[in-house]
Amino acid sequence: MFLRWLEATILDFGDEMHKVYMWIWSSGDLGLRLLWHILHLILSTWYFIIGLMGSVESFLISSGLFKRYRDLDISKVQYLAVAIDSDEALQTLKVLELLRWLEAIGLRKVCLYDTAGVLKKSKEALTLLLKNERMSSETASDPLVEEKCLSLEVISFSDGKQAVAKAADVLLKKHYLSSNTEKPKLTESDMTDALGAIGYREPDPDLMLIYGPARCHMGFPAWRIRYTEILHMGPLKSMKIGALIKAIHRYTMVHQNYGT
């Protein structure tokens, strides 16, 4: 919470500094301008140092120098969801890089989501590029290479609320309108089965990583996120493999009590 407050405060501070700069510039005072430039240099150096520290940490983590991140128990993440802001999802190469990292970490089942369906359009390209990279690497001759490949599910908003509505429609028409049942008996299991019947059989994600400006799940299928751990990772353009490993490690340390 504190780090988020700090981040927001720094961003707001930047806005205020811009207003101060405009005032100093219009005042014509050379001394003030010099002072401003010195302050700007100090702040820029500070931001640079922060960025550098983040990059160094990410490098150290990805190099396996931290034991706890090296011994990641990836088996705890059976199914990972990655929700990306639709505008940011247009950065196909960034998405590809993310998928490469996930595959390298050892994840096998990933669900990519964005609201507008941008990733659905890129799915073929992403799958092809990943496959080509695999085929051209040393592991191409490995008979188990297919098992080690990333299984990719790509969904959008229409697979969320609209899918539930379709499943509800199926249940209504198949079970209630055509039967003599006085009172509709409908359970959560029926809804899950109906979703399966119309093609939505994938499991609920254990962990969801959100890339984008908003800290929300952007309409990811509601039915599937009952117990999903949700982590906001920031903008896709700033993604770091160290942050990704940290997020997954954090999840593997979590104990879910499921209501107890």
Partner: protein, 265 residues
């Protein structure tokens, strides 16, 4: 910077309340949802019985409600008891049910006197009859109140909410209340979710959801309604969640609103 002055919404006629520094009335979330997690851990960390944790949680909830009302939040939804919580020890569950009855008799009564509209969402039929009766009575008596909406999720499950909405639609179609339904769509489901106890339709989905105790999940709470809800996960255990923490969460929400605007989805 100073404080913003807002007109009180508590029905006391003309009284002005100050907003804490940094908060703006125009950017206040209309609907705040809170997963009140951490009562038991709070008690255990102090070597106290879990029941005292729930009592401390009750105090925190009362304060949370007062603060939300003071800051001009229109709807506060709190997650008090999940369908999954029945597996807790029987003694604890009985204590909680007794506590809920006591909360309705005294805390909710105070809210009703202050023009707050109180309602409960969840599988109310699965609760003990005495509690059902209290819920029904308090909802009825406050239905014409025009102040803040206070919604308590009791025996609630997000999936159950969606399933019940579908059941209701099926019932209405069978009974001829709903004309021939070509296809069920998400709008129709939304109209039948339990959060429709909130009169103002534009306030039914939370703008901000806060979960205490450091857990980073929704735990089957408002799954459908939270599609575009800003999620803030707080490390503090709920009994320790105070006005300052609420202000911090609201400030974060408002900073994000200023920077990125409302959701563009």
């Amino acid at each position: 910077m100073g404080s913003s002055i807002i007109k009180s919404s508590c029905g006391t006629g003309g009284a002005y309340e100050e907003l804490p520094e940094g908060l703006e009335k125009e950017l206040m979330p209309k609907h705040v949802a809170v997963i009140m997690d951490g009562n038991r851990r709070w008690a255990k960390s102090r070597g106290l019985p879990v029941q005292l944790g729930h009592i401390a949680g009750r105090r925190a909830m009362k304060q949370l409600t007062r603060n939300c009302k003071k800051f001009g939040v229109q709807v506060l939804t709190v997650f008090a008891f999940s369908t999954e919580n029945w597996i807790r020890p029987k003694e604890e569950v009985n204590f909680l049910m007794n506590l809920f009855e006591e909360v309705i008799r005294s805390d909710m009564e105070e809210l009703i006197q202050n023009d707050v509209r109180v309602s409960v969402v969840g599988n109310v039929g699965g609760l003990r009859p005495s509690l059902q009766s209290l819920i029904s009575s308090s909802s009825e008596r406050s239905k014409d109140n025009k102040g803040m909406d206070m919604v308590t999720a009791l025996n609630y499950s997000g999936r159950h909410d969606i399933t019940e909405a579908t059941k209701q639609i099926a019932r209405k179609v069978k009974d001829g209340v709903l004309g021939s339904v070509e296809d069920i769509d998400e709008t129709l489901i939304e109209k039948h979710l339990q959060t429709n106890v909130i009169e103002e339709s534009s306030y039914r989905n939370p703008d901000l959801l806060i979960r205490t105790s450091g857990e980073l999940r929704l735990s089957n709470f408002m799954l459908w309604q939270s599609a575009y809800t800003e999620l803030i996960f707080v490390d503090k255990l709920f009994p320790d969640f105070n006005e300052g923490d609420l202000v911090e969460a609201l400030t974060l929400f408002q900073k994000r609103q200023r920077r990125y605007g409302g959701h563009k989805y």
